[in-house]
Amino acid sequence: MEIFKLKESFGFMKYAKRFGLLSLVLVIGSWFLIFTKGFNYGIDFAGGTLIQVKYEQKAPIDEIRKALDATKTFQGAQVTNFGSDEEVVIKIKKVSSDITNDASDEIKKVLHTTGKFDIRRVDMVGAKVGSELQEKGMMALVLAVIGILIYVSYQFEWRFAVASVLALVHDVSIALGAIALLSIEVNLDILAAILTLLGYSINDTIIVFDRIRDSIRRTKQMNLSALIDESVTMTLSRTTLTSLTVFIVVLFLYLFGGEIINGFSLTLLIGVIVGTYSSIFIASPLSQWLGFSIEKFRSKEAEKLKREKEKERMRSMYEQGTL
């Protein structure tokens, strides 16, 4: 079976400016959302206490709220269903630094009139730890981007590196924008999803760039736009296919993986779509807009080749003992 049976390449570059504009709007819109609406930080980053309770019958949310509001500790607690009708999570801002004091004991006492239940999870994160985790998360993002920048610069050239990182910024921005828009709770797993997206999206982009590099070496094509069109078209079935398989598994993870990793899989679902789009429509034009030129690349490659040849010549001379 084949999806794309193409004799001729798609004219992606013809529409590059339009897609560029669309992306720009999406990115700026996302930033706007992030800065105005902001993130719905979960307790990992904001600190607080979370208690997951599973009832033997349908959880009586209103009664739970009433019972909690009557207490001092849990007043104003946020109570929401979690995955099923039987399960709820209770969230409060407060934390207790006393080791012997345990929120689950208190909850048990407070809720004993609401039915039979089992406390399945209690998470408590102090504000200090929360901000530390936030810092570490930022460090991980920055470190990953710098690492990628260095590697791609080394393997390709700096314009490709900058283009791929800009594509990453594009993907991550839009994914974060969606997280803000959908009020997905931002916890450590969202950070993991964003970093996975980083890895995934750069992977896609590199495949396309590799094809461009390959085409420059193999063909005599001097028109960069045509060359990009050709390369993107040739990698199109691969890009679509891989995105599809990843999309499938993430979709199943979202559907069957359980409520705890829902935020993670939802972020990745969005990320896969954005990442695929950017590697097809955005990354390559970016390298052109950054001033990538085929001639320069070829002459650089030729120089590299010459240097290698020279080295080889020296080596053979050395081996023959003529040096």
């Binding site: 079976m1 209690v122 993870l253």
Partner: protein
């Protein structure tokens, strides 16, 4: 058919390795190394504790005061106004002839302090290095102490480790009931600071009316009884403390109540003996974590350095206190900064749901590959299966921990691992379309695809490593499975499937490429 080549041999070995070493984990057998399940999958208690190291400074000052008091009394140097300041003590000598003797003592016995003199008033202050050392010491001592308490308690494989500068990570898997958890937390939290303190008999009668500030003026503190509301007025500087304790065990009083017997070391025994000899008829309080357990009247000099704590303990309480005393006091109290408790049932649910996601995802991707690529899709699927086994095997061998995000990572690997094969197969198709032979197409396909696969996977790996370095707990587990998955997929795709194609390439008829690579024959003309 071509003979075996090195690629196939490596692939078969890797596959066999994967199956053999993943079996213990998959079958949950008793033999062999298994993957450790993270706390989020098997249930347990995860805590990050902070150490209140400023309290360690306070108690160090106190112990300086105790030492000075003892030494001066011992050498019969007369002094007055011995008080504790923020990082040291001050005192006033009454006899000018004692100054040299005092200075000698201060220099010899009090390391890490500086002595300053103002008239006859002397100040002993801890040096900044000593303060820092004391703080660091408090953290590492807390790690040791908590570890030894949990060991003595008989818990299976708890993790106690220093995290950063002043934090302690405690992870305890497999706690069955909330009551057990509560007991463990209390055991960890117990400062177990044992002090023998003299009752201020001169003012004891006024204890109910005296204020804390007034008590402080006399160098006294007010502490309450552990069970009753009764209060005691005690000399703030203790006679001795638990650091001189060598053993503690549960015993029984005459009325068959559980009590804790303790033994002091030589120095402690001497101090205890001297003090009790001088204080016959007075009371001495046994204070644990700032609660008075008993305050018996001293009837005679007590030698031998043995003592007893009684306080209507239950058997369990006595047992836990003895453990805490034996493993030593915490130099500084600990507080919880992060705590996560996961019940075993939730962990089991998470394993189940992520396994379903894994199986369904795998089946759909595998079917898709067969429909799209034909027989070569089957080969890609074999590589994918090998991949899954090898990931589990590698994790089991290295004793890595599988967390819920880690499971998600494995599911994701299924989607990403076929990528290498997709890249290769697309390249093979291209060469076939140019009308080249199958063997040539396979060789060129792999060669052309190699650099792309390499570069793409290395960059993904960079992101995964960043996540591993800065991630904590479950997230680290995710980064780990993703990284192993990437490396293994490169092995199975680049070596594995290539080797198999090398073996069978000559057998693939030109007119069977539709069946093999999923493209129509007429295209290849």
């Amino acid at each position: 058919m071509k003979k075996f080549n090195y690629r196939v041999v490596v692939f078969i070995l890797a596959f066999a390795f994967g199956i053999v070493f993943s079996l213990p984990s998959l079958l949950q057998s008793d033999w062999g190394k298994k993957i450790t399940l993270g706390l989020d999958l098997q249930g347990g208690l995860h805590m990050v504790l902070g150490v209140k190291s400023e309290v360690a400074i306070e108690s160090r000052t106190k112990s300086i005061a105790t030492t000075v008091k003892y030494l001066l009394d011992d050498q019969e140097i007369i002094y007055d106004n011995l008080t504790m300041t923020q990082n040291g003590i001050t005192l006033e000598l009454l006899d000018g002839d004692d100054v040299a003797k005092f200075e000698a003592i201060a220099q010899k016995e009090l390391e890490g302090t500086t002595l300053t003199q103002n008239g006859m008033v002397f100040t002993i202050t801890m040096t900044p290095e000593e303060i820092l050392r004391t703080k660091q010491n408090a953290v590492s001592q807390a790690v040791e102490t908590i570890r030894s308490r949990l060991d003595l308690f008989g818990l299976a494989e708890p993790t106690v480790a220093k995290q950063g500068e002043d934090k302690i990570l405690v992870e305890i898997p497999g706690i069955k009931t909330p009551a057990d958890e509560q007991r463990i937390r209390e055991l960890i939290a117990k400062t177990a600071h044992l002090q023998m303190m003299a009752v201020d008999e001169d003012r004891a009668a006024r204890v109910s009316v005296i204020s804390e500030a007034e008590a402080a003026q006399y160098g006294d503190v007010i502490l309450s009884d552990v069970k009753t509301p009764e209060k005691y007025l005690l000399k703030e500087i203790p006679v001795l403390d638990g650091s001189m304790l060598t053993d503690a065990s549960v015993g029984y009083s005459q009325s068959n109540q559980p009590v804790i017997n303790f033994v002091l070391n030589g120095e402690g025994a001497k101090i205890f003996g001297d003090f009790s000899g001088k204080s016959v008829g007075k009371r001495m309080a046994i204070v644990l974590d700032n609660k008075v357990y008993s305050a018996p009247v001293i009837n005679e000099r007590i030698g031998g350095g043995k003592g007893q704590i009684s306080g209507n303990f239950t058997q369990q309480e006595a047992h836990d206190i003895a453990i805490a005393l034996r493993s030593g006091a915490l130099l500084a109290p600990v507080v919880v900064e992060e705590k996560r408790t996961i019940g075993p049932s939730l962990g089991a649910d998470s394993i189940q749901s992520s396994t379903i996601a894994l199986v369904v995802g795998f089946v759909v991707v595998a079917l898709f590959m067969i429909v799209y690529y034909g027989l070569s899709g089957v080969l890609a699927n074999i590589a994918l299966i090998a991949n899954l086994f090898i990931i589990i095997a590698v994790m089991a061998l290295f004793g890595a921990t599988l967390t819920l995000p880690g499971m998600a990572g494995i599911v994701l690997t299924v989607g990403m691992a076929v990528d290498s094969n997709v890249i290769i197969l697309e390249r093979i198709r291209e060469v076939l379309r140019e009308g080249k032979s199958v063997a040539k197409a396979i060789e060129d396909g792999y060669q052309n695809a190699f650099v792309a696969i390499w570069d793409a996977n290395i960059t993904t790996l960079i992101a995964a490593i960043a996540l591993y370095v800065y991630g904590t707990g479950p997230i680290k587990g995710f980064a780990l499975t993703i990284s192993i998955g990437i490396l293994v997929s490169m092995l199975t795709a680049i070596l594995g499937t290539h080797g198999i194609y090398n073996m069978i390439a000559s057998k693939i008829e030109k007119n069977a490429i539709g069946k093999w690579f999923g493209i129509k024959k007429e295209e290849t003309a």
